[in-house]
Structures are given as C-alpha cells and as structure tokens.
Symmetry: C2
C-alpha cells in the first residue's frame, strides 16, 4: 500500500485539521507495518523513533485517521481491533475464529449485495471494510468440527 503523504496532508488541512509530526509518524507506521496492525504495534514502532510520543496519542490519532477515512478499522477475532490503510479499492476479510488468519475478499464480491441492502433499508453501508467471522478450511479439517 502506497502512502501518499502529500495528498493526505492537503486533505487534512483543507478540513481544518493540522498536520503534526505525530500524525505523520503514526500514518507511516500503519502504512509500513502492513495489513492489520494493532495500536500496540504502532506504538512500539513510533516510540522507537519518537520516544516522547505517548500511547494516548497513538490511540487518538488512529481513531482520528479512521474518522477521516484515511485508515480503516479491521475487526479481528474476539473483537480485537486493528487498523490498515483505507485504499481507494475497499477489500474485506474472512476472519478465522480459531487461527485468527485473514482471507481477503475483493470488494466486487460484496458490492451488488450491499447496494441492494442499502436500497432496501435506506441505510448507507460503509464499505471501507467488512469482516465476516467463521472458520477456515484448515481449522475445520484439523478440528473435526
């Protein structure tokens, strides 16, 4: 995932928010750390670079960037939260409750279904990320479940 800093910064300023070193560090961290990074992982990463950057700021910024649709919240098994870059093309996950693995679902699989539901319920579904929980093929065969 590329992290177009210039574009994002412009978007934030346009909305009246500020571009701080903390926000830039945290955004870069999520971008570099990959697909589903936890707050603690982000903190470890940025804290090594900027030792005064606090945990509170990590949580606040992750939350903030999610509100701005720059990050997407990813729900892992057991309700644990992670984050990832919210790209222009949404993608979704099948989360295995047993081994915690993620299987990627392309947006196209969901799209027409979601559109139909939106129309039917007059509800604008946020398609930046959806997680379905269950059990993957590997865990089903080994558990005998």
């Amino acid at each position: 995932m590329t992290c177009n800093t210039a574009e994002i910064n412009r978007q934030l300023r346009k909305s009246g928010y500020r571009v701080t070193p903390q926000r830039q560090l945290i955004l870069e961290a999520v971008c570099q750390l990959g697909e589903h990074v936890t707050p603690e992982t982000v903190y470890d990463h940025v804290h090594r670079i900027a030792p005064t950057l606090s945990r509170a700021t990590v949580y606040r910024v992750l939350h903030f960037l999610t509100e701005q649709r720059i990050l997407a919240m990813v729900l892992m098994a057991e309700g644990r939260l992670a984050y990832e870059m919210s790209g222009p093309e949404p993608h979704h996950h099948l989360v295995c409750r047993t081994c915690d693995s993620l299987l990627e679902l392309p947006h196209s699989v969901l799209q027409s279904f979601l559109r139909a539901m939106e129309t039917q319920y007059d509800f604008e579904i946020d398609v930046s990320h959806v997680s379905f929980f269950g059990h993957c093929a590997d865990c089903r065969s080994s558990d005998g479940a």
Copy 2:
C-alpha cells in the same frame, strides 16, 4: 427472547462444563436486559443481586458463553462490544456510526449470499451475528453528509 435455562444447563454439563450460580445469573441478565447489552450493564445488574460477583467473572462468563454459542457477540460502533442471546434464528444489524442506532436485518437477507461465499472461499461463515456499519437515513439527512 426466551432463556431456556434447563436446556442450556444440560448442554453445558454434557460438554463437561459446570453450571454455577454466577453463570446462571449472568445468562439471565443478558436475557432480560435485551438486545445488545454491554459487560458493564451486566455487571451492574448482577452485582446488585450478588455483590461478591466480580467484574472478572462477568467478562470471563460472557466470553465463555459466546464460545459455547449461547450468546452472540454484537459489534457496536467504534468497535465496542455487546452481547445478546444467540437465538435459533440469527439476525443481523446495520449499525449507525453517527447515532449508534441498530437496524435489524433478518437472516434471510444474508443467507443466500453467505452460502455462495462459503462455497467460493471454502470458509464456514459464522452466521450467528453479522454487523454492517454505516449511516442511517436520519443521520444522513440531518448531517447533510
């Protein structure tokens, strides 16, 4: 939602687990408190009846009963967790990120779609509860969003 205690107790014992007063109290609480009850709400309720029942037990039992498929975990806005009885007929939610309201989706709306995904990805989707996040009609019209 009826709470068939006898049946549930039998199921637990059959699986080698014990039926304790704590578990019964917590289960009844979720059953009575309705559709999407938070751990703190459960604690407040049961603690009035059994003052020595600890928060740790509430969290542990909610987690345990969810593993046993007796409760279902409901994901509210912002990743907050709640629980409800996991009835024989699953139902799902459209969760408004703005006002936190829940719109019920009957299982039938999802069923055929989920079946198709299961086949395609060899993944057994757990249909006891699914949440979609987004914005309800009211919030969309008032925010101008």
